[in-house]
C-alpha cells in the first residue's frame, strides 16, 4: 500500500469538503476518492470518517440524504451546503497560508 501519512487534525474536514465539490457522494465513495487522488498516501479509516461526517453535518456544512446507489442499494449521500462552500473557501485559504508559512520556515534552515 505504500507509505501512509496520518492526517493532521482538522485536515480531514477540509479534504471531505473539497471532495464533495464534485457532487453528492456516500461515505465509502469519499474515502475511496481521497485515497485515489492522494495516490494511496492518505488513508481515511471509517473510524475517523463517519464521526467527521456527522460533525460536519451538525455544523450545517454538508447535508445528507438517503438515496439509491448503484446495484439498487440504499446509501447515505452527502453533499455540500452553501455554508459548506463558504467554509471550504475559508479553510483552503487558511491551509494555503499555513503550508506556505511552513514551507518558508523549512527552506530557511
Amino acid at each position: 500500500m505504500g507509505s501512509q501519512i496520518d492526517l493532521l487534525q482538522g485536515t480531514l474536514d477540509l479534504l471531505i469538503l473539497k471532495t464533495l465539490v464534485l457532487g453528492p457522494m456516500h461515505g465509502w465513495g469519499i474515502a475511496q476518492r481521497i485515497q485515489q487522488v492522494s495516490k494511496e498516501v492518505l488513508q481515511v479509516g471509517q473510524g475517523s470518517l463517519y464521526p467527521a461526517l456527522a460533525r460536519l453535518e451538525q455544523k450545517g456544512w454538508i447535508g445528507a440524504e438517503w438515496s439509491t446507489s448503484d446495484n439498487n442499494r440504499r446509501a447515505k449521500f452527502y453533499s455540500l451546503t452553501r455554508n459548506g462552500v463558504k467554509q471550504l473557501e475559508k479553510e483552503m485559504g487558511e491551509w494555503e497560508r499555513l503550508s506556505a508559512a511552513i514551507a518558508l520556515v523549512l527552506q530557511q534552515s
Binding site: 465509502w28 479509516g45 471509517q46 473510524g47 463517519y50 464521526p51 451538525q58 438517503w66 442499494r73
Partner: protein, 928 residues
C-alpha cells in the same frame, strides 16, 4: 450545537442507531466488493474489509458523541454509574439520604408556610389586578372616628401616618368621578353579630359590603344570587348572603336556606345566596359567615354612633379594579387627586395641605395585618432549618470524604485509563446530586407531613386560627429542587476535588487500599474532615444556644406573675346591644347577670370588665396630673379599665387601702358619662404604680384630678375623678407588657366580658352559664368563651411554637453533628489500625491510645464550640425582639448547651475510642 437539537437527537436515538448501522453495513459491503474485484476470495475479501474497517463499536461511540452531544450522553452514563455505586453501598446511601431528607424536608416545610402566607392565592377571579386603596400622609388625620378590622396595619399616630380605612363620601366620589377604575367596591368589618331566628342565638362574623362587592371580586354564588347594586339602597328589602362553610355547618347545606329569614343583632334579613366554597373574605385571618349590604350597617351596629356618612369618619376598606388600558401609576394619581380634593377642600379639612395626603394602590393579596405577626417566627425558623441543612451537608460531605479513601484505587485506575480529572469530578458530583435529589424527594414527603404537624400545633385552641393553607405548588417544588441540587453541589464539591486528586503511582502500587494511602493525601484528607467537624459543632451550638434562649423566653413568660390568680377563671362575653337592648338597660342587664352568675353553685364570685385581661386589648386615657392646680396644663397618661362590681375580689387583686366600688359609684359614672354630667367626681380605683408615679408623697385616698381635655365651654362641667381605693399592680393587656399606672373605673361603657371565679373546673360550668343566659333572653348569645389560662396560652402560641420547633431542630442539629463526629472518629480508627497496633506492640497503654485518637478531635470540638458561641452571640442579638428576660450571652443557656454537647460528643467518641483500645497488635500488623 443547539442544545435542543441534541436533546431531539437523544429522543430519536433508535432511528439514528438504525441509520448508522445501515451506513456502516453499506460501507463494509462496498469494501468487500472492492476487495473481490481485486481478486480476493469472498472470505479473504471479507476478512480484509473487517481489518481495515477497524473497531465498529468505537466508531459508534464517537459518532454518538457527536450526534447526541457529549454532555447528555455522558450524563446518562454518570447517572447509571452513580446509581450502581449508591446501590453497592446501601448503608452509606441510606444514612446520607435520610440526613439530607431531614435537612431538605425541614426547609421545604417552613418554606411552604412562608409561601402560603406571602403568596396567598386570593379566592377571587383575576386576583392580579385587584387593588385596595391605602392613604398616606405626613400628618395625623383630623378624623372624628376611625375604625379598622385588621385589614392592614393602620397607623394614625406615627411620623408617617397611613391606613386603609376611608370615609363614605370619598368612596362615592371614587365610584362616580375617578374614571380610572372599572369597578370600585367597599366593605367594613369582620363584625361580630348575634344571629337569631335559627335555633338558639349564636355569634357569627360578618361584613357590610357595597352593592358591587361580589361583582368587583368576581365571586359567584354557589346557590341563589349575590348582591346587585340595588340591594345596597335604603329602600331595598334587607337581604344577606352566607358563606358555603356556614351554610353547611348551620343550615346543613339545605336548599331551603334561600328565602329564609334570620335576625342579625335583631334586624331581619332574608338569605338570598350562598357564596362559592373557596370564598370566605379577602383578608387573611378573617373568615366570614355572612355578608349584608352596607346600607344596613347603621341599623345592625347602632352602638357605633359616629356620623357614618361624614368625611371625617374613616371606616371603609375600598377595593377596585383598574381599567385594563390605564397604567397603575395613572390610576394612583387619579385616586390621589380625588382624595386630596376631598380631604383638603371640604368644609372641615381632614389634613392641612402640607400633610400631602395621597393614595397608594396596593395588591389586594397584601390585605391582612396579621401577616407580619405570623411571618416573624417563620423567618426565625427558616434560619434554623437553614443551619440544620448546612450541618446535614457537612455531615454527608464527611461521609463522602471518608468514602473517597476507599475509592482511591478506583479513581487511580480511571485516571490511568485516560479519564480526565474534570470528568471524574463531574462523575462524583453527579453522584452527590443524585443523593441530594433522592433526599429532596423524600424530604418533600417529610415536609408535607411536617407542615400538617406544624399547623396542628399553631391552630390548637385558637378560636379563629390564621387561614394558612400550604400546599405543594410550583414555588415550593422549585424551592425544594433548587436547594436539593445546590446542597448536592455544596457537599459534593470538596470531596470530589479531593477524591480525584490522587497520586497515581502510590495508589496503584499499594495493594491494601485505604490504610496505606499516600502520607500527604492522608494528612490533607484529615484536615478537610476535621474542618467539617468544627463547622458542624459550631453550627450545632449556634442552633442550640438560640433554641435555649427561646425556651428560656417561654419559661420566663410562663413564670411572669400577672398580679392576679389566673387559675379557675372562666371568661365569656354577652352583648345585649346585639339583642336590641339600649341605654341604661344594657348596664342593668350586666348587673343582673353578674348577680345571677355569682349565685350559681360552683361559682365563688363573678364580675365583668370592659375587656378581658391578658388577651391583647388595651385602652388608655389621659388626664391632668393629680396633685397639681386645676388650671394646670400638665397632662399624664395611664391605662384605663372600666370594671364591674367585685372585680378585684373575683380576680384576687388585693386592696392596699380604700374600698371597692359600690352600687352608687356605678350610677355616678353613668351620669357623668351621659350627655349632662353631674357634679360628683367619678370614683376610681388606681394601682400602686399609679400612686408611686403621680402621688408619691400624699395620701392618695380622696385625691381628685381633672379630665383631659376639659370639655369645652358648652355648659358642660368636668366632674373629674376621685380616688377611692388603691390595689396591687396587675398586668393588663399581656404578659410581656410591663405594668403601667392603671386607673379602674366603674363600667358603664355598654361592653362587658364576664369573669367567673369557680370552685372546680371552669369548663364544666359552661353549659350552666349558657342555660342561664338563654333563659334570661333567647336572643342573647354567649361568645368568646375561654379560661384565663387558655387565653394566656393562646397569647404565647407564637413563642411556644418557635421555642418547641427550635428545640426540635436544635436536637436534630446536635444529633447530626454527633453522627458526623462519630463518623470521623470511626474512620480515623479504622485508618490508623496498623499504627495503633504498632504502638501497642511497643508498649502503649489504652490511655495513650485514647489520647492519640481523641486528642485532636477534642481540640476540634472545642474550636467549633468557641466559634459557635461567638456566632450565637451575634445571632441572638438579631433576635432580641423575640427574647424576653434573657440576654444574648445568657450564661445558664451557654452552660447547659455546652454540657449537653460535651456529653453527647463523649458518647459519640466512646465507641470508636473503645474499638481503638481493643486493637489486637498481631491482627493489626498482619492486616496488610
Amino acid at each position: 450545537m443547539n442544545i435542543f437539537k441534541r436533546l431531539w437527537n437523544a429522543t430519536k436515538k433508535n432511528k439514528l442507531e438504525n441509520e448508522l448501522n445501515a451506513e456502516m453495513r453499506f460501507h463494509l459491503e462496498k469494501e468487500i466488493e472492492e476487495n473481490m474485484a481485486r481478486g480476493m476470495s469472498a472470505e479473504e475479501a471479507r476478512r480484509q474489509a473487517l481489518i481495515s474497517f477497524g473497531g465498529v463499536q468505537q466508531t459508534r461511540e464517537s459518532l454518538r458523541e457527536v450526534q447526541h452531544g457529549r454532555f447528555w450522553d455522558s450524563l446518562v452514563q454518570d447517572v447509571r454509574y452513580g446509581a450502581r455505586m449508591l446501590r453497592n453501598t446501601p448503608v452509606f446511601t441510606l444514612v446520607a439520604v435520610l440526613t439530607l431528607a431531614l435537612g431538605i424536608g425541614a426547609n421545604s416545610a417552613i418554606f411552604s408556610l412562608i409561601d402560603a402566607v406571602l403568596f396567598r392565592p386570593l379566592p377571587v377571579s383575576d386576583p392580579k389586578n385587584l387593588v385596595f386603596l391605602e392613604w398616606h400622609s405626613l400628618q395625623r388625620p383630623q378624623t372624628h372616628s376611625y375604625r379598622s378590622f385588621g385589614d392592614c396595619e393602620d397607623d394614625t399616630d406615627g411620623p408617617r401616618p397611613n391606613g386603609c380605612s376611608l370615609p363614605v363620601p370619598f368612596f362615592r366620589d371614587l365610584q362616580s368621578k375617578s374614571g380610572v377604575f372599572s369597578h370600585v367596591a367597599a366593605y367594613t368589618g369582620h363584625e361580630r353579630l348575634d344571629l337569631s331566628g335559627n335555633g338558639p342565638a349564636r355569634i357569627v362574623y360578618g361584613q357590610f359590603v357595597s352593592g358591587d362587592y361580589f361583582g368587583t371580586l368576581g365571586v359567584r354564588p354557589h346557590r341563589g344570587r349575590v348582591f346587585l347594586d340595588n340591594d345596597d339602597t335604603p329602600e331595598a328589602p334587607p337581604v344577606a348572603v352566607v358563606s358555603y362553610a356556614f351554610w353547611q355547618s348551620t343550615f346543613g347545606g339545605s336548599e331551603s336556606v334561600i328565602g329564609k329569614t334570620v335576625r342579625l343583632n335583631g334586624q331581619p334579613f332574608a338569605i338570598i345566596g350562598v357564596t362559592e366554597p373557596k370564598f370566605e373574605g379577602l383578608t387573611m385571618g378573617g373568615r366570614n359567615d355572612v355578608w349584608v349590604p352596607l346600607t344596613h350597617h347603621r341599623a345592625v351596629v347602632p352602638q357605633w354612633t359616629a356620623k357614618q356618612d361624614a368625611m371625617d369618619s374613616y371606616w371603609l376598606i375600598v377595593i377596585g379594579r383598574v381599567k385594563p388600558e390605564v397604567p397603575v401609576t395613572q390610576a394612583q394619581a387619579g385616586a390621589s387627586l380625588l382624595y386630596r380634593n376631598d380631604m383638603l377642600e371640604g368644609a372641615k379639612p381632614i389634613f392641612k395641605s402640607e400633610g400631602q395626603p395621597e393614595i397608594k394602590l396596593v395588591a389586594a393579596q397584601h390585605l391582612g395585618a396579621a401577616k407580619d405577626q405570623i411571618l416573624q417566627p417563620l423567618y426565625i425558623l427558616l434560619l434554623f432549618v437553614g443551619v440544620v441543612l448546612m450541618i446535614a451537608c457537612a455531615n454527608v460531605a464527611g461521609l463522602l470524604l471518608a468514602r473517597s479513601a476507599v475509592r482511591q484505587r478506583e479513581m487511580a485506575v480511571r485516571l490511568a485509563l485516560g479519564a480526565k480529572r474534570g470528568r471524574l469530578i463531574r462523575q462524583l458530583l453527579t453522584e452527590s446530586v443524585m443523593l441530594s435529589a433522592i433526599g429532596g424527594a423524600l424530604g418533600l414527603v417529610f415536609g408535607v407531613w411536617g407542615v400538617r404537624v406544624l399547623l396542628a400545633m399553631v391552630g390548637a385552641g385558637d378560636e379563629n386560627p390564621p387561614q394558612i393553607s400550604p400546599h405543594i405548588d410550583w414555588t415550593v417544588l422549585a424551592f425544594t429542587a433548587g436547594i436539593s441540587v445546590l446542597t448536592g453541589i455544596i457537599f459534593g464539591l470538596a470531596p470530589a476535588f479531593r477524591a480525584s486528586a490522587v497520586s497515581l503511582t502510590s495508589s496503584l502500587k499499594a495493594g491494601g487500599g485505604a490504610a496505606s494511602a499516600g502520607a500527604a493525601g492522608r494528612q490533607r484528607r484529615f484536615t478537610a474532615g476535621s474542618t467539617l467537624v468544627s463547622v458542624q459543632m459550631a453550627l450545632a451550638i449556634l442552633v442550640l444556644v438560640v433554641a435555649g434562649l427561646l425556651v428560656r423566653t417561654l419559661g420566663n413568660l410562663k413564670n411572669i406573675d400577672p398580679g392576679f390568680d389566673t387559675r379557675s377563671l372562666l371568661l365569656f362575653a354577652v352583648d345585649p346591644r346585639m339583642a336590641g337592648y339600649k341605654g341604661a338597660h344594657v348596664d342593668n342587664l350586666y348587673h343582673q347577670l353578674q348577680e345571677k352568675f355569682a349565685a350559681l353553685p360552683g361559682v365563688t364570685s363573678a364580675s365583668y370588665s370592659q375587656v378581658p385581661l391578658l388577651i391583647g386589648s388595651l385602652s388608655t386615657t389621659s388626664f391632668r396630673k393629680p396633685g397639681t392646680p386645676r388650671d394646670s396644663k400638665e397632662e399624664v397618661e395611664c391605662d384605663e379599665l372600666p370594671v364591674g362590681p367585685n372585680f378585684f375580689t373575683t380576680l384576687r387583686i388585693p386592696f392596699q387601702i380604700g374600698r371597692d366600688f359600690t352600687v352608687a359609684d356605678f350610677s355616678v359614672t353613668a351620669t357623668n358619662d351621659s350627655e349632662i354630667p353631674g357634679s360628683v367626681p367619678t370614683p376610681v380605683i388606681v394601682n400602686q404604680f399609679f400612686v408611686q408615679k403621680f402621688l408619691p408623697s400624699t395620701n392618695p385616698l380622696g385625691q381628685t384630678f381633672a379630665d383631659n381635655p376639659i370639655p369645652k365651654g358648652d355648659g358642660k362641667k368636668d366632674p373629674g375623678y376621685q380616688i377611692v381605693g388603691v390595689v396591687a399592680n396587675a398586668k393588663y393587656s399581656g404578659m410581656k407588657r410591663e405594668v403601667h399606672p392603671t386607673l379602674y373605673s366603674p363600667n358603664a361603657s355598654g361592653s362587658a366580658f364576664f369573669e367567673l371565679r369557680t370552685a372546680t373546673d371552669p369548663n364544666a360550668l359552661i353549659p350552666t352559664v349558657r342555660n342561664l343566659v338563654t333563659h334570661e333572653n333567647p336572643d342573647l348569645a354567649l361568645f368568646r368563651i375561654s379560661t384565663q389560662i387558655q387565653d394566656i396560652d393562646n397569647q404565647m402560641t407564637g413563642e411556644r411554637l418557635t421555642a418547641q420547633l427550635a428545640s426540635v431542630f436544635g436536637l436534630l442539629a446536635l444529633g447530626l453533628a454527633c453522627m458526623g463526629l462519630y463518623g470521623l472518629l470511626a474512620y480515623e480508627v479504622t485508618r490508623r489500625t496498623r499504627e495503633i497496633g504498632i504502638r501497642m506492640a511497643i508498649g502503649a497503654q489504652a490511655g495513650n491510645v485514647i489520647r492519640l485518637v481523641l486528642g485532636r478531635t477534642m481540640v476540634l470540638v472545642c474550636v467549633g464550640a468557641v466559634i459557635g458561641i461567638a456566632g450565637s452571640l451575634g445571632v441572638a442579638r438579631l433576635l432580641k425582639s423575640a427574647l424576653y428576660g434573657v440576654k444574648a450571652g445568657d450564661p445558664l443557656t451557654l452552660l447547659a448547651v455546652l454540657l449537653l454537647l460535651g456529653l453527647v460528643a463523649m458518647l459519640a467518641c466512646l465507641v470508636p475510642a473503645r474499638r481503638a483500645t481493643k486493637v489486637d497488635p498481631m491482627v493489626a500488623l498482619r492486616y496488610e
